[in-house]
């Protein structure tokens, strides 16, 4: 690199010797300072990092991922396979292309050997998303896209024009074309101004449509402040995802130049030919001083001629036997040598190409042509990515040597270079026509043709057919330095190996060789790989095809996709009316679905085990209070409500009297338990169905589904009232005193307020419902009150409980208390393969009802098997071990060690706790034939040893139910 820096200074910029004296779209009045690889360098607004580096003669950006070979800048935009950098300042970001980073003051970046490094500090930038609904989405603001957008917008269509570069213009930005006798960029400016003045046009630059999906849906990422670097305002989102829904889409995404593969084709200074033209005209930078232009087609001649005019010493190496007639005069006038029938067989140089080895195509000794820039053009690949994502089929065009759209999609057009129309006149014309057709398809008034108003351009020079050359055979036969995917260090030799291994499909070869799997997703290497593969297996490109084009078109950061859906915004957090109280009383939270529930309330110095033992003991010996507001509550109303409940619950609900409560279980049609809970009959035609916290939405959906799809004749309405009602279980032998004190109008005696009944009362005008329900086996009331008044009622209960030592308890204590009574938690002790009978709950299954959902399945042979798993209790015989939940019960006799696998298994632990009441750990388990094993001792492997446990019935505390009435 240093050699090139010693070149004589150019008039334009003494600091940047390869900056032209004038021209380009950079703002030479302002100088930006940046650091690359530790060197402080300068550039101008309008530069990319790559163009600024090139202006200093810096070509090598990094070394390669596997081989450590120097790598440079391969192109001028996103198709560049090589110039990967890591931005360090203002915020670390890996895997960006120097060719697409807009230069800003203070940029600090380093080259990357193919792998990036994520920042280890949180990204403080904002990311967001917006929806956009349009008639027409035009992707690409080059001549074709602008033309289509103009026609449609003038006709009154709602248009989104989206382009990935900093400014509109596409290829016109990097060329010398004129429109209506003026520079093409002047036409672009006028078009952009006209669009801006039209209503209903959304014009987005720096915005990449990276995916096209069904029904006109497209995703785009807008880089809103990246180009501002450290000066980016913090209040603006850095990047934005646009979720576009368009009635029609026009893909005008241009074309990517295609390389030709030859030996040592990866040296810095090797570049796609058209990109050097872009660097010259758009950025005012010469990519070198002595160029060899290796081409198979006409397009590179314009590059060669214009570079020569800019003072570059140019030689053309032309694969075809004859140079194109249209360019012979221009070459001759400049004394520009054209070596026809020749190929580049290799290169010399280490950190930068110093010579191209040129030989006759038919063979012969290569000659070294000294150069510092090797430009390559193997033709053009239309950027059909978005069309292909929309499931458009491709065909191989033998003349163009590229894959083109093969069909008209119902609501997506491809136009301009993306459709293989490579000349400016054609792009403008087809853009207009496509816009016109889109207007018609949208049902808008027809756009009259006014040829005199259409822009005119010089006719393109007559074109001669391009050559089709994928790879120049290695002179020495060694294909291991012939790079197909430069970024992946994947070569022709790798493709040969893949074919040798029997692979024929480009999809397989891609995965075998990794070609096309880098940041660029094979923009320049994919079709070349297909071509080489075809030659190796004797098939044409049409038969070989391409790999599938998948979103994203260019890499999108996860932070961008996440947008604002991160941290607390990732998922709604549901809190009860008592949330602040729990917080103030030191609750440790448990996430239950989206709910925040107190798990326990540790006293100073307590761990969870100690807190839970204390809470459990308090409930069983005195009184505790739980915030059960998260329990699902469904208001079921209508004359046929009882019929619906009878059909969905396993037991009879319609016989329940108003004022009473019944426990019920719901099953699926397969007879497996779906959910459980209590049902309150509020009136003849009104019921309150209580569900588990996690099952609330599922049960409502389940009831709606049957009601709507099977029994629409039933007159029933369902509404979730989970959030409307707070619910506080007041539990324990002293609960009667507490509830009686707070609600003096209620007779809380066992006789007047029976178990499984409810009563309405008031507290200073606030309606309150009390229900004697117990999930612990203790004397208990559930206090239901509107969420608006929940806090006040809770405070009163806690105040009234002070003299009894009322203890708030959390979900963990609730779980222990219910497990001691053998009450299963659906979804913890069950898993969708468990029937009510398996749970020992025959009593909840009606024998009287002719049918209910699940009933017929209970009689299935499989559900009658005696070795089904039953819910049982387990008491570790050492009285010490808390069996981890999920532990397997193994079929190993006592005294024997674990045999070699497979070990026969009998079941598993579903719940396991330390019991304050029992003074020992216990567990619930699903155990094969469990009810017949009660009294047996089984074994469970725990931490490398076998733990013995006695099988018991599931009810370990108060099996006779003596504590229920206090």
């Amino acid at each position: 690199m240093s050699a090139t820096l010693d070149r004589p200074e150019r008039a334009g910029d003494p600091q940047a010797p390869f900056r032209t004296a004038d021209g380009g779209r950079v703002d030479r009045s302002r100088t930006l300072t940046f650091t690359f690889g530790g060197r402080s360098l300068t550039g101008h607004p309008g530069d990319t990092l790559a163009s600024a580096l090139l202006s200093h003669g810096v070509h090598q950006v990094a070394t390669s991922v596997k081989l450590g070979r120097p790598r440079g800048i391969g192109a001028a935009w996103a198709e560049d396979p090589t110039s990967l950098v890591q931005v360090e300042e203002p915020f670390p970001e890996p895997m960006l292309l120097a060719s697409t980073i807009e230069l800003y003051d203070g940029l600090v970046a380093d080259g990357l050997p193919g792998q990036g490094r994520l920042a280890d500090l949180p990204d403080s930038a904002r990311y967001d998303a917006r929806h956009l609904h349009v008639d027409l989405l035009v992707v690409g603001a080059g001549p074709a896209g602008l033309s289509a957008a103009l026609v449609a917008a003038r006709a009154g269509a709602r248009v989104a024009l989206v382009d990935e570069q900093a400014e509109a213009g596409g290829a016109l930005l990097g060329g010398t074309d004129t429109i209506d006798g003026r520079p093409g960029t002047a036409w672009v400016e006028a078009a952009v101004a006209e669009l801006a003045a039209l209503p209903d046009v959304m014009h987005l630059q720096r915005t990449t449509v990276f995916g096209v999906y069904d029904d006109g849906f497209a995703l785009a990422v807008e880089r809103r402040t990246d180009h501002l670097g450290g000066a980016a305002p913090q209040h603006l989102s850095r990047q934005r995802v646009w979720r576009v829904r368009a009635r029609r889409t026009v893909v005008a995404t241009g074309a990517h130049e295609r390389p030709v593969v030859f030996t040592d084709n990866d040296r810095p200074g090797t570049m796609l030919a058209g990109s050097a033209r872009t660097y010259l005209h758009r950025y005012g930078v010469l990519a070198g001083e002595r160029a060899v232009v290796f081409t198979t087609n006409d397009s590179a001649y314009q590059v060669a001629v214009e570079l020569a005019d800019a003072g570059v010493d140019v030689t053309v190496v032309e694969t075809r036997e004859r140079a194109p007639v249209a360019w012979s005069a221009a070459c001759g006038a400049r004394g520009l040598p054209v070596r026809t029938g020749s190929v580049v067989t290799g290169t010399e140089g280490v950190e930068r190409v110093t010579a191209a080895l040129v030989a006759p195509r038919g063979g012969g000794a290569p000659e070294a042509l000294p150069c510092d820039l090797l430009l390559v053009s193997g033709g053009w690949n239309p950027a059909v990515h978005l069309y292909s994502q929309a499931r458009g089929r491709l065909r191989f065009d033998a003349v163009l040597g590229a894959f083109l759209p093969a069909e008209q999609l119902p609501d997506l057009d491809v136009v301009g270079s993306a459709a293989g129309t490579l000349d400016l006149e054609g792009c403008l014309f087809t853009g207009r026509e496509t816009g016109r057709a889109a207007v018609a398809a949208l049902g808008l008034p027809e756009v009259p043709r006014t040829p005199q108003a259409d822009p005119t351009v010089d006719p393109p020079p007559p074109a001669s057919d391009p050559d089709l050359l994928w790879v120049v055979p290695a002179v020495d036969g060694d294909a291991s330095r012939q790079f197909v995917d430069v970024q992946r260090d994947a070569t022709v030799a790798d493709v040969q190996r893949a074919v040798g291994a029997g692979l024929r499909s480009p999809e397989h070869v891609k995965r075998y060789t990794t070609i096309g799997t880098a940041h660029d997703q094979g923009k320049t290497s994919g079709v070349v790989m297909s071509g080489i593969l075809g030659e190796l297996i004797g098939a044409g490109p049409q038969d070989v095809g391409t790999t599938t084009f998948r979103p994203p078109y260019t890499p999108v950061a996860f932070a961008t996709l996440a947008g604002r859906d991160r941290g607390a915004m990732f998922d709604p957090e549901r809190t009860t009316a008592l949330h602040d109280w729990h917080l103030a009383h030191g609750a440790v939270w448990e996430d239950v679905g989206q709910w925040k529930r107190p798990r326990h309330y540790p006293a100073p110095g307590e761990d969870m085990e100690a807190a839970v033992l204390r809470e459990c003991a308090a409930v069983r010996s005195g009184v505790g209070i739980l915030d059960g507001s998260t329990l699902g509550k469904i208001d079921v109303q209508g004359p046929d409500a009882g019929v619906l409940l009878d059909r969905l619950y396993t037991n009879l609900m319609s016989s329940l009297k108003v004022g009473r409560v019944r426990y019920g279980v719901m099953c699926g049609v397969d007879g497996m338990v779906l959910d459980d809970g209590v049902v309150l009959r509020l009136a003849e035609d009104r019921w309150m169905v209580m569900t588990t916290t996690g099952g609330a939405a599922k049960v409502l959906d389940w009831m709606e589904e049957w009601l709507q799809t099977e029994w629409p004749d039933l007159r029933v309405h369902l509404a979730s009232v989970t959030e409307q009602w707070a619910a506080f279980p007041v539990v324990g032998p002293r609960s009667r005193d507490v509830v009686g004190a707070v609600f003096p109008g209620v007779d809380v005696s066992a006789e007047a307020f029976e178990f499984m009944t409810w009563q309405d009362t008031q507290l200073e005008g606030v309606p309150v419902r009390l229900a004697r329900i117990s999930f612990s086996g203790e004397l208990a009331w559930e206090v239901h009150v509107s969420s608006w008044h929940a806090e006040e009622v809770w405070h009163r209960l806690v105040a009234a409980g002070q003299e009894h030592g009322i203890t708030p308890y959390g979900t963990e204590t609730m779980h222990v208390l219910r497990a001691e009574k053998g009450y299963p938690i659906i979804g913890q002790d069950t898993d969708g393969t468990v029937t009510p009978q398996d749970l020992g709950m025959d009593w909840v299954v009606s024998k009287k009802k002719a049918d209910f959902v699940g009933k017929r399945s209970f009689a299935r042979a499989d559900n009658q098997r005696p070795d089904r798993k039953h819910l049982v209790g387990l008491l570790p015989t050492d009285g010490e071990t808390v069996l981890p939940e999920g532990s397997q019960v193994v079929d190993v006799p006592l005294g024997e060690d674990l045999p070699a696998p497979p070990v026969p298994m009998l079941g598993h632990v579903t719940s396991s706790y330390r019991s304050a009441f029992l003074g020992r750990p216990f567990a619930l388990a699903m155990l094969q034939g469990g009810r017949e094993r009660v009294g047996e001792v089984v074994q469970l492997p725990v931490g490398g040893r076998l733990v013995a446990a006695e099988v018991t019935g599931p009810v370990l505390v108060d099996p006779e139910g003596a504590r229920r009435d206090g």
């Binding site: 069904d214 029904d215 849906f217 049609v669 709606e704 589904e705 099977e710 049918d851 017929r856």
Partner: protein
């Protein structure tokens, strides 16, 4: 992301909907009279159609209503949506990608699992 036409709300994005499996599989009138195999057909067996299938959909994040739809299982294209009470429309020719398999349809959507009727 596809648009699905809710017969009550109009076209909405697919994330608002949930799939409810094959349509026109009514709950048998007298399950007790079915043998295990017949019952198993109702509980476990559904058509595995390549082509147009009548399906149940629920507009869960919208009007919360269930409805039926004819959809091509290859192209995912919907050819018809209809309310639950309405009869299944005759096979509708599909347009667009993947429609080639749309012909072998209506017979398969009504053939099974109505043993209880």
């Amino acid at each position: 992301m596809q648009l699905i036409e809710c017969p009550w709300c109009g076209p909405r994005e697919e994330v608002e909907f949930s799939y409810g499996g094959q349509a026109h599989v009514p709950y048998p009138e007298s399950p007790a009279e079915l043998d295990d195999e017949q019952w198993a057909h109702y509980v476990f067996f559904r058509d595995n159609t390549r082509g147009t299938l009548a399906e149940r959909w629920n507009h869960g994040a919208g009007c919360r209503r269930w409805f039926n739809a004819m959809r091509d299982t290859v192209s995912y294209r919907f050819s018809a949506v209809y309310r639950t009470a309405e009869p299944m429309p005759a096979s509708v020719p599909l347009t667009g990608a993947g429609s080639s398999s749309a012909s072998a349809t209506t017979s398969t959507t009504t053939s099974t699992t109505t043993t209880g009727r």
